[in-house]
């Protein structure tokens, strides 16, 4: 003898699931699928010294704080983003000669729009606090990237110091698999960075022991 009840339960779930999927599919077609569709063609300001009025004090839903790290789709460079209280800094770095620090705001809907020196731009979308998808425009090139949420010790590290009268500025992106992408500039001259200990932040630059710290806005 067969009972019909369990099958009806399954069918009800199937119908519910399919109708929700249909609603999702039909309502999301209007949402922007590309985070950089509306990129303005005009050259970006070099560095915005005045932030455009912080978001209204009552922010019911601010994007969650977190660190994100990943590689560009062309595997040429790494990108890390650190989000704190609706503000973000990002670091784009190819591990050899090219690097850029960017900063800006994160909207409540997760949209990021960061700017850095020499017209460097990062546009992206923070998706469900799990990852950031977007693109970095640097040196006239566009690198699409996906940065997944990073837990310590992976993430974004920075060390600044003066070693033998040279201004040292190092940035490291530690990826989930433990690999590092970093560039060290000595008086503005970039070079591959020595390895940083991701547990302590200890790094040796030109014989001098420095401590890198997690970079936050």
């Amino acid at each position: 003898m067969k009972r019909p009840g369990p099958l009806l339960t399954l069918l009800a779930g199937l119908v519910l699931g399919l109708s929700l999927l249909t609603i999702d599919a039909t309502t999301s077609t209007t949402a922007p699928t590309s985070p950089y569709r509306d990129r303005s063609p005009s050259p970006a300001p070099l560095r915005s010294t005045v932030s455009p009025a912080p978001a209204p004090a009552a922010t019911p839903s601010r994007p969650p704080d977190g660190d994100y790290a990943g590689r560009t789709d062309d595997d040429a460079a790494a990108v890390a983003v650190s989000v704190r209280g609706g503000r973000a800094i990002a670091y784009f770095c190819d591990g050899r000669t090219q690097e850029s620090w960017l900063k800006g705001d994160v909207n409540a809907d997760g949209a990021l729009r960061l700017t850095g020196p020499h017209g460097t731009r990062l546009t992206g979308t923070l998706r469900d606090g799990a990852r950031i998808e977007g693109a970095v425009g640097v040196g006239g090139e566009r690198h699409a990237f996906t940065a997944d949420r990073a837990e310590k010790p992976s993430g974004l590290w920075r060390a600044t110091a003066t070693v033998r009268s040279a201004k040292i500025d190092g940035g490291w992106i530690v990826l989930r698999d433990g690999s590092q992408v970093g560039v060290l500039t000595r008086d503005g001259e970039p070079s591959p960075a020595p390895r940083v200990d991701p547990r302590t932040g200890a790094v040796t630059v030109d014989g001098q022991h420095l401590t890198a710290r997690p970079a936050t806005p």
Binding site: D24, P64, A130
Partner: protein, 192 residues
């Protein structure tokens, strides 16, 4: 109508009759497997949309899902208790069979929107241990649940089968809840 799940098997010791109907177990197992694999393939193959429609009154989609999942988990606990009543392990009222059926339906139907959002907006992901287990077990859950529903259609089953499958479904849902809603509440706070 109340159904004692033990009655049929006890009153009918027919070892010879199990042989001719392997389909009774094979079909639910195959359908369950197909459901689990199908959900995983869909989650992996399609491009995660990132967003889906939202319920009003909640601060984020994550909060909606965490609360819906918690409601499903509550009904799953009712499932466990009412199942123990049905099998005589706990004293229970005469309507414990109805309680078991309807709390199960509630848990399943509440879990469906959560799963739809997971699969549509986030997809099958493996970038973290927690996320990997959640993805794997989330797909497995709906497969195991489908298998159990199909097994339930036959009254003459070995007495140990339903408790095993039901316990498996419950255990998997628990891990899914721990790796999603509990993680959400611990990370973002108990928000609505």
């Amino acid at each position: 109508m109340t159904v004692d799940p033990n009655a049929a098997t006890r009153g009918f010791p027919e070892p010879a009759r199990r042989g001719p109907h392997p389909a009774r177990y094979l079909v639910p197992a195959l359908v369950g497997g197909a459901v689990a694999v199908g959900l995983g393939v869909y989650g992996k193959a399609h491009d995660p949309a990132g967003t889906a429609f939202d319920l009003a009154g909640f601060s984020s989609t994550g909060a909606v899902k965490a609360w819906l999942a918690s409601a499903a988990m509550f009904f799953a606990l009712v499932q466990l208790v009412s199942a123990l009543m049905l099998y005589g392990k706990l004293p229970g009222p005469v309507w414990s069979a109805a309680l078991h059926r309807w709390s199960g339906r509630a848990a399943f139907l509440i879990a469906v929107p959560v799963a739809v959002h997971c699969l549509y907006a986030l997809g099958y992901q493996t970038y973290e241990t927690r996320v990997m287990w959640h993805s794997v077990l989330g797909c497995f859950f709906f497969g195991a649940f489908s298998a159990k529903m199909l097994l339930l259609r036959w009254e003459r089953l070995p007495g140990w089968l339903l408790p095993i499958v039901g316990g498996l479904v419950f255990a998997v849902l628990t891990v899914i809840w721990l790796t999603s809603a509990l993680w959400f509440f611990r990370t973002f706070g108990v928000t609505t």
